[in-house]
């Protein structure tokens, strides 16, 4: 175990750290910027905003995404909103309060200085997005409107109907395309990064595959930025897009970038349940539904009647019973875990007994249908579209689903990984949310990293790169990396077994959801590690991928992604096993209070686990970043 991580947090009081950094950061003159090249992988909010901002400054940017257009990145799917400490409501909000809510929401497992900077830069984002033409909700007066969101007591959430992510992404996508028009950004859509290239220990380029032609390409630069999102799709059934994956950050990890807290995954409580083996995705329903919907299961686990036929006294409104103060609005991790408890006890509802009811009958009686239509009409019609059930007449069925990765590549205050010249931004890094992310903070972090942090910190790095020539893509390190990538693909094609990558993915996902999901135990995690090793072995021997590598081949793409999932899955279990406490989304059943709440252990686990690759997925090395709280004192997170 080592403790050698340099966080590079600036000196001084919390509120002055970012200013101090900006004052001292090195600059690159406009003349020199055009000599420098930057690769940005991913075009979601983090990647598009970073690529556009850097190009506006005068750097030459190469932007990559695996989708057919940068506008498709999964930031597009975020519904609820984006937080900012504007205090437009005059209800007592401030940068400090927002920082504290985020830190507390993350169960005091994030880095104070980064979390503070997130809150500090939040207001700028609303200005920037508004200037780009993002149609945020407005009051009739014409000023911006806010609403409240889970886990906080002020109204600081800005939103654009139920499509805030889409509108913010289109704003940054348009900024990116404007730079494509100026020639400062070269766009590589339908390109997947397959490896990172290091020269003399520094990140100097990537190997990417053109998914339309199968060509394996080399791209060099003075620095590489990974903005490749989260990897909740590892659970197979998740709220993520089908293409979301861990490959870019995992392959960077295998080249030396540390991976922090990989097991911390947020499981979202209000998703549509699985209806059959063929299911590919669990659609998320905005958690705003919990404002008026009441969650319950039948008291009797042998219940066979329809929901509406079960009398009031035979229903268990378990969140209202267990958390009288917050009730149905308990934070995400608590709501999800409670649902799983009920389902595990056999009280789940629906054909597969894998859901709980979300009931609007009382709200409908109290406010009338018109009010409910106005508040949730689009969600009710989405529910009807997918399930063919009219939720005005009977309760919805919902269940928890994997959603957001709090873990990711370890980065310092500058968002640089342990590889010099390799930066990670947005959900791909680990820094701001601790062990649980608050609602409406994910869009914010992606934007703040890309628009307002990286342009300063990357420049500080590039200032020392001016003297270095353009990266030579004929360097032997490129040869080596390209060869390894090709060899891996040939291996997949040559296996000729009889199980598809997706079939392996489903088995792996359900194993992880069961043993390294909402609740974890020593026994379960040890068993999972054993099973994952077994599955990884089978994957090597029994995978089937048709066709070849020189054509459009979606099965080959999936095989590469699943191969990486097979490796990080073990690290997730090792990470969860090593952390003998419960915090946020990480709930170890051995570490709970008498009332069944998470029991944090600040004396022994007040650190981020930064794992180092060591030749093999089964022998990772733990490095610790001790978390020191200079400004706040960690308290017990109670929502009772």
């Amino acid at each position: 175990m080592k403790n050698s991580l340099n966080t590079k947090i600036p000196e001084g009081p919390l509120s002055e750290k970012w200013n101090t950094y900006k004052k001292k950061a090195k600059l690159v003159s406009p003349n020199n910027r055009k000599k420098l090249e930057v690769i940005v992988v991913g075009t979601g909010l983090a990647g598009a905003s970073a690529a556009a901002s850097l190009a506006e400054m005068g750097y030459n940017v190469k932007s990559f995404c695996f989708q057919d257009s940068p506008r498709r990145a999964h930031s597009v799917a975020a519904q609820g909103g984006v937080n900012a400490a504007k205090n437009y409501k005059n209800d007592g909000d401030s940068v400090f309060r927002m920082f504290y809510d985020t830190l507390k929401g993350g169960d005091f497992r994030s880095r104070e200085a980064n979390t503070y900077r997130l809150a500090e830069c939040s207001a700028n984002l609303i200005d920037q997005a508004t200037a780009q033409g993002v149609p945020f909700a407005r009051e009739y007066s014409g000023y911006l409107r806010n609403r409240s969101f889970g886990g906080v007591q002020v109204s600081r959430t800005f939103y654009a109907r139920g499509q805030t992510g889409q509108q913010l992404l289109l704003g940054s996508y348009q900024a990116l395309m404007r730079q494509v028009n100026t020639g400062k950004v070269s766009l590589y859509a339908r390109h997947e990064m397959l490896d990172l290239v290091l020269i003399d220990g520094k990140a100097k380029g990537i190997i990417a595959r053109n998914l339309d032609t199968g060509n394996v390409e080399r791209h060099g630069a003075h620095a590489v930025v990974l903005a490749t999102g989260g990897f909740g799709k590892i659970y197979y059934l998740s709220t993520l897009a089908m293409g979301c994956n861990v490959s870019a950050i995992w392959r960077a990890h295998k080249k030396g970038a540390f991976m922090a807290n990989p097991s911390w995954t947020q499981i979202h409580p209000t998703c549509l349940p699985q209806s059959g083996e063929y299911q590919s995705k669990l659609t998320l329903m905005s958690e705003s539904l919990r404002n008026d919907g009441r969650i319950w299961v039948p008291k009797d686990k042998n219940e066979t009647r329809k929901a509406n036929d079960i009398p009031e006294e035979e229903r268990d409104y378990y969140l209202e019973r267990k958390y009288p103060a917050f009730g149905n609005l308990a934070p995400r991790d608590i709501a999800s875990r409670s649902a799983k408890e009920q389902i595990d006890e056999g009280k789940g509802v629906g054909e597969l007994k894998n859901a709980v009811y979300l009931d609007f009958s009382r709200a409908l009686k109290e406010y009338g249908k018109d009010v409910i239509v106005e508040r949730y009409g689009n969600l009710f019609s989405m529910y009807k579209k997918i399930t063919d059930i009219d939720a005005y007449l009977e309760p919805m069925k919902i269940s928890p689903a994997a959603h957001f990765s709090m873990g990711g590549l370890w980065v310092d205050y500058e968002l640089m990984t342990t590889i010099p010249g390799l930066f990670a931004i947005g959900e791909a890094n680990f820094s701001d949310h601790g062990a649980n992310r608050l609602g409406a903070n994910s869009l914010l972090q992606a934007c703040v990293d890309g628009y307002f942090v990286l342009p300063y910190t990357l420049q500080n790095f590039l200032a020392d790169e001016i003297k270095n020539p353009k990266t030579d893509i004929n360097h032997p390190e490129f040869d080596k990396a390209e060869e390894a990538v090709k060899k891996q693909m040939e291996g997949f094609l040559a296996t000729k077994g009889n199980k598809t990558a997706e079939e392996f993915h489903k088995v792996l996902g359900s194993e992880l959801y069961d043993k390294c999901g909402l609740s974890r135990s020593k026994e379960g995690l040890e068993k999972a590690i054993e099973n994952i090793r077994e599955l990884r072995k089978e994957f090597k021997e029994n995978l089937i991928v048709p066709g070849d590598a020189s054509e459009v081949n979606s099965e080959l793409e999936k095989a590469g992604r699943v191969a990486d999932y097979m490796e990080i899955a073990e690290l997730m279990c090792v990470d969860a096993l090593q952390r003998e406490e419960s915090c946020g989304a990480h709930f170890r059943i051995e570490y709970q209070t008498e009332e069944g709440e998470a029991k944090r252990d600040d004396a022994n686990f007040c650190y981020s686990s930064a794992w180092e690759w060591n030749k093999d997925p089964s022998t990772p090395i733990l490095n610790k970043e001790n978390l020191t709280f200079e400004t706040v004192t960690p308290s017990v997170r109670s929502y009772k």
Binding site: A131, R138, L144, L187, E551
Partner: protein, 247 residues
Amino acid sequence: MKIHLKIWRQKDSQSKGGFKEYTLDDVHQEMSFLEMLDTLNIKLVKKGEHPVEFDHDCREGICGQCGVMINGIAHGPLKNTTTCQLHMRSFKDGDTIYVEPFKAAAFPVVRDLKINRSSLDHIITSGGYVSVDTGQAPEANTIPITNEIAEAAFDSAACIGCGACVASCKNSSAALFTSAKITQLELLPQGKKETRKRVVAMVNQMEEEGFGHCTNTEACQVECPEDISVLNIARMNYEYNKSKILN
């Protein structure tokens, strides 16, 4: 239920394509249309055949990446629904379903049902933005926009860029897509001052990409998953003519 499929197969943009027939015996009503294709693909792969390639990503109707012609209709029989949100309960046991890619000169086939829609990106690149750099923005509330205008701008901004409008148009026109962006930015004070330049650039780019002209059949709005209004096109034409005269 049993479903017969006639699916367009085409190895690459240069090859000649054609329909191939498949039959699935175990289709569930709750399956989405794409999950039905997943089921077919697992069967094909296990036989060592190449799966049917199709575009998709979020599978919740917002990314705009999916989209095929189902029995000749873009995104299939349901109104305001993307292909990924269509479920098999919209079909009957024994049905035959024709599945083809969105077809347009500006959307070359990449493989099977996968197409290249970068022409739509090029239209945005030519002027579909507000020219503001990071850091230049004024305080957000210094640009008041009435609720009515903001909501109208949103109606246009809701376009997901799937290309169903182009596929549904007998002229393969991208007028609905292009006009929605022009209208959103024209309605907002932030974007208004660039309208003249923007509308000319975007309309010219649309022609350069090989999209056809709009002849007001209004088929595009009927098949649009977001129900984007054809009134956007009227506004684009008005702004275009105004710019041509004033420039």
